[in-house]
Amino acid sequence: MKNIVIGQFVPGTGFFYKLDPRTKIVSIVFLMIALFLLENITQLLIAFGLAVVMLIIGRLSIKRIVRGLKPIFVLLIFTFLFQIMFNQEGTLLVNQQMSLSYTSIAGILVITVLWRYLAHFKRFNFFLFLVWVAGVYFLLIYFHFGPTFAPFSLKVYQKGVEMSIFVVIRLLIIITLSTVLTITTKPTDLTQGLEKLLRPMKVIGMNSEDFALIISISLRYIPTILDEANKIMLAQASRGADFSEGKLKDKVKQVISLLVPMFIIAFKRSEDLADAMESRNFIPGKPRTRIYELKFNWNDLMTSIFTAACFALAIVLRVI
């Protein structure tokens, strides 16, 4: 749980740390829109190059961003496979007849078990996965002894390959952008930025301050509540609650033994927080001052110009 990078601030100094959160939020929104305006793969690759340059300018560790991509890796693979299988435009690249048979199913099972077993050693994880995919591919084509059934053909079209690479790169850039935002911005700064940006919404009756407060309190309490949950789990485990084994009936009871203290502690904490805020004279809806006011400086101006240029270029490319 400690390796999740998305949504986690990492202290540091660098170009993006010095930016005003408002600039960061607005720029990222516009850059994302620009990204969706791009139409062909060369433009997207240039955008990808720009994103990497951005990371280098901000002196952010690329390794850390890549590590943050791990949880959505599965999503990326699925997007890739979906695009490659269901997009049927352009010229046909591969047309492979495949079918199932008892031997091929058995073979797939064997290599799956082998793959999962080898994956325990943790190294070459991705490489193993590729080997597994290739193995399944060959088994489905050649490994038939005895009757075959359910024949189908794997068709890959040129457009499908292009689109799948296109979509995956686009996703990668989007995630990199949002990770840069969350890694370099404190949650409090982020909500303060949002609060300032959403201020005009007051016209339609939405109070941006309340909204920002709700977000910042929930963000603030995620690690605390996780910590509490962990302690409760240890306390109940120490009374013999086994969360991994046992019958369904026992399991239900053990989950309840977690949830009840969890809720009680959460309610208690929220009451304490309300008291603490009130005793420091917090009145909902009344204007508040800040210790750190947000300032707009040269870096912000430069970033804004860069964003505007990218956005304009994307529109121009789209129109032409």
Binding site: A235, S238, I264
Partner: protein, 286 residues
């Protein structure tokens, strides 16, 4: 049997502050019977981490812990049933709020034994026995644990562990948040439990008065290192106490001061106020 630590270290991985060594190469042995140990050390010295190793709630990152003959190392061993070790060593957490969840005290106390496949009737008998051991009467069994006072909740949570009938009982700061009278009462309770059942009891505490009066063995942790393991008499004669951020019991403080101020010929190492008073009276009569 008992618990044996061999060169045990534990390192917490933290994303923001980097890895952090909570305990460092600790070697110690705790027997099954007749021990009354106080585990002391300043805040963040690794006491709770050490305690959580004692019933395999967390695993050492280096070295090994042997609990009841089962060896626990960094790697999870599928042949070892870690859950059963928790029946052997009962750990009571600091805050009862982390474990109370049932609608009656009786059901809550029965949760532990029932997890270890004790029958319903036996669990009821054990609950009644445990509530008596912690000094509450049986009418409490039918009450709602959330309507109890802080001290009562604490007792109920201890009863919840006692009902599992562990050979070794580990208590993480059981006296925190109680008034001086409640503290003393609770410590006397542990002493009685220990005498009555011969279980070993390990208590984490900050209160040096209680340590001096009740413990027959003291373990001191300082920044994750084991710096003292021995009896309570020698501990308070040591000069390193202040470097370990520990204080002296009130009786020793007062008697030492009197000895210096009035050049009295007294022994300042008296465990209780009564004994200190007797010692002073002896000198006065001379």
């Amino acid at each position: 049997m008992g618990i044996h630590f061999r060169e045990v270290s534990h390192e917490y991985a933290s994303y923001q502050v980097g890895d952090y060594q909570a305990i460092n190469k600790i070697t110690l042995s705790i027997e099954d019977e007749n021990e009354f140990i106080c585990l002391v050390g300043h805040t963040g010295s690794g006491k709770s981490t050490l305690a959580q190793h004692m019933n395999a709630l967390i695993f050492p990152t280096e070295g090994e812990v042997e609990i009841n003959g089962k060896v626990i190392t960094k790697k999870r061993d599928k042949k070892v049933n870690y859950n059963l070790l928790r029946k052997h060593v009962g750990l009571v957490f600091q805050f009862p709020e982390y474990q109370l969840f049932e609608e009656t005290v009786e059901k809550d106390i029965m949760f532990g034994p029932m997890n270890f496949k004790v029958s319903l009737e036996d669990a009821k008998i054990r609950a009644a026995e445990a509530i008596r051991l912690v000094g509450l009467n049986e009418s409490y069994l039918r009450r709602n644990p959330f309507n109890l006072s802080g001290g009562e909740k604490k007792r109920v949570s201890i009863a919840g562990i006692l009902a599992m009938d562990p050979d070794i009982l580990v208590l993480d700061e059981p006296t925190s948040g109680l008034d001086p009278f409640g503290k003393r009462q609770l410590m006397e309770l542990f002493q009685n439990i220990q005498k009555e059942t011969k279980k070993s009891i390990i208590i984490i505490t900050h209160d040096m008065d209680l340590v001096y009066e009740f413990a027959n063995r003291v373990i001191v942790l300082n920044d994750g290192d084991l710096v003292y393991d021995g009896n309570e008499e020698d501990l308070f004669r040591k000069d390193e106490l202040t470097t370990w951020a520990l204080g002296l019991p009130e009786t020793i403080k007062v008697l030492r001061r009197l000895k210096e101020q009035f050049h009295l010929d007294i022994n300042p190492y008296q465990k209780t106020v009564d004994l200190a008073f007797e010692e002073l009276k002896k000198v006065m009569n001379k």
